[in-house]
């Protein structure tokens, strides 16, 4: 489903974020990207999202070459991806329902009733069914992250990219968020960047360990070892 072939990413000032990285992720897999800050975790996610293009090498997401410049293909790619960020990226003047609905509205193919139904379903998965009319300012950090997860999983987005989604949360809330990821992993392919050792070790899923822009370990059902 996701293939990286000898991918290198250099930034204009010369710093190398990724160097000759190759890996593939199968449909339905849950993969942790681990490593210290600056190891290249976020760069991998940004490359999959096509926010960045590789300096060399190829990346295929759902059989689409992300270097393809055809804009409709880029839209198709992004419409298959759900993204969860450390800083939530929630729109503060839209309520919970509107924030989640946005993910479906941009597809421009669902009626309001269909959107309503799917948003309610996503909100019940993340445990916010009773807060759809609440505005983000009234929510806790954990709840905001749940809204972001609901926005990522609603509809038919097959791949979830999570960039340190528990980075701003206390341990208790982080576990609650991880329970949601456990709930949805059967239906989605998940790439989860984190440096939270406890989470990675308790999940026992595939772990890609990054260091200085290189994959140093690829562990099936692995643990995060320093």
């Amino acid at each position: 489903m996701i293939i990286f072939e000898n991918v290198t990413k250099k930034f204009p000032l010369g710093n190398v974020a990724l160097e000759n990285v190759s890996f593939s992720v199968e449909e339905g897999e849950f993969v942790f990207l681990v490593g210290p800050s600056g190891a290249g975790k976020t760069t991998i996610l940004k490359l999959i999202l096509r926010e960045l293009l590789p300096t060399s090498g190829s990346i295929f997401v759902d059989e689409m070459d992300i270097a393809d410049k055809n804009f409709s293909k880029i839209l198709t790619l992004r419409r298959n991806l759900g993204v969860v960020f450390q800083d939530f990226k929630i729109i503060y003047d839209k309520n919970v329902f509107e924030n989640v609905a946005l993910s479906l509205q941009v597809l421009e193919k669902y009626s309001f009733l269909e959107i309503k139904e799917k948003v309610k379903e996503a909100l019940s998965i993340v445990g916010l069914a009773d807060k759809e009319k609440v505005f983000p300012i009234q929510l806790s950090a954990g709840e905001l992250q749940r809204v972001a997860i609901a926005r990522a999983i609603v509809g038919e987005r097959k791949i979830i990219l999570a960039d340190e989604p528990t980075g701003n949360l206390d341990p208790q809330t982080s576990w609650e968020i991880m329970k949601i990821f456990k709930k949805i992993e059967k239906e989605k392919t998940i790439i989860f960047a984190t440096h939270n050792v406890d989470i990675v070790n308790s999940f026992q899923r595939r772990v890609l360990v990054l260091k200085n822009g290189k994959i140093v370990k690829d562990l099936r059902k692995g643990k995060y070892e320093f």
């Binding site: 999202l49 926010e51 992004r78 990226k89 421009e108």
Partner: protein, 296 residues
Amino acid sequence: MRGFLISIKRTPFQSAASFSVLFFSLFLTFFLLFSLAFFEGILAYLETRPQIIAYFQPKTNENEIFKIRDELVSSGKVLSIKYTDQKEAFENYKKMNQDNPLLLEMVSADILPPSLEIYAKKPIFLPQIAEYLKKQASVDEVQFQKDILDRLLTLTSILRKISLTFFIYLFLMTTTVLVTITHFKIALKKEEIEILNLLGASHSYIRRPFLKEAFFMGIFASIFAFSIIIAILFYFQPFLNSYLQGISSLSLNILNLNLLIWPINWSFLSITFLVTSLFGVLVSLFSTFLATKKYL
């Protein structure tokens, strides 16, 4: 409409600035259109006034005058001719000088000349008609208002050019300001736009709320500018009535359609409103489209 109101609520200063610049431009556009229409109307009115008056020698035989009149009518250049004989001329003279008995005593019908008041079909026929009349032995004097008409034509032409230049300036100024304001709005929504991009929103989806807002802004600014212009027009109506005293109506001929502009006529006002609203909506949409194309 809901999105439009939310956008105003979220960016009140930018929305107020957009509205103000659109209102200002549309108000001036209305003003220019009304001024031009009135000027053209007055010109059209003056063109229907007697444009040449030929005074005959007092003892000219009436048949000779009628012969000249018939020849002019058969030339196809004349819209209408009015003959004033010596008696009627004397009556007119008496009316004009009723407060001055001395002048009335000095003049009798015999010394006043009979005359023909000629209305040409087009201003360009005036010199030809005047030339023809001057050649007639019985014609004593030809009063030709060509100079006045020429001056009015020149003035109208200058006003048209000034209006066009000003209109182009307004268009450019409004476009520049609206592009800048839309740029601000885009900057304020940077994070939301970034999220929409990540979710796979198309350019048109992201651009649509800006264009919808521009559309409603154009409509509301037109309505507001039109209402103010109408209020001013009605406020000054008594003044205009006295200024245009004696002129029963002013009209314009546009595309073979005779449009009454004075006294105040709602058909004319409606057409002006539609044209100006269209300009307002188009300039607003065009500017927003430019800004979203450049900055999104």
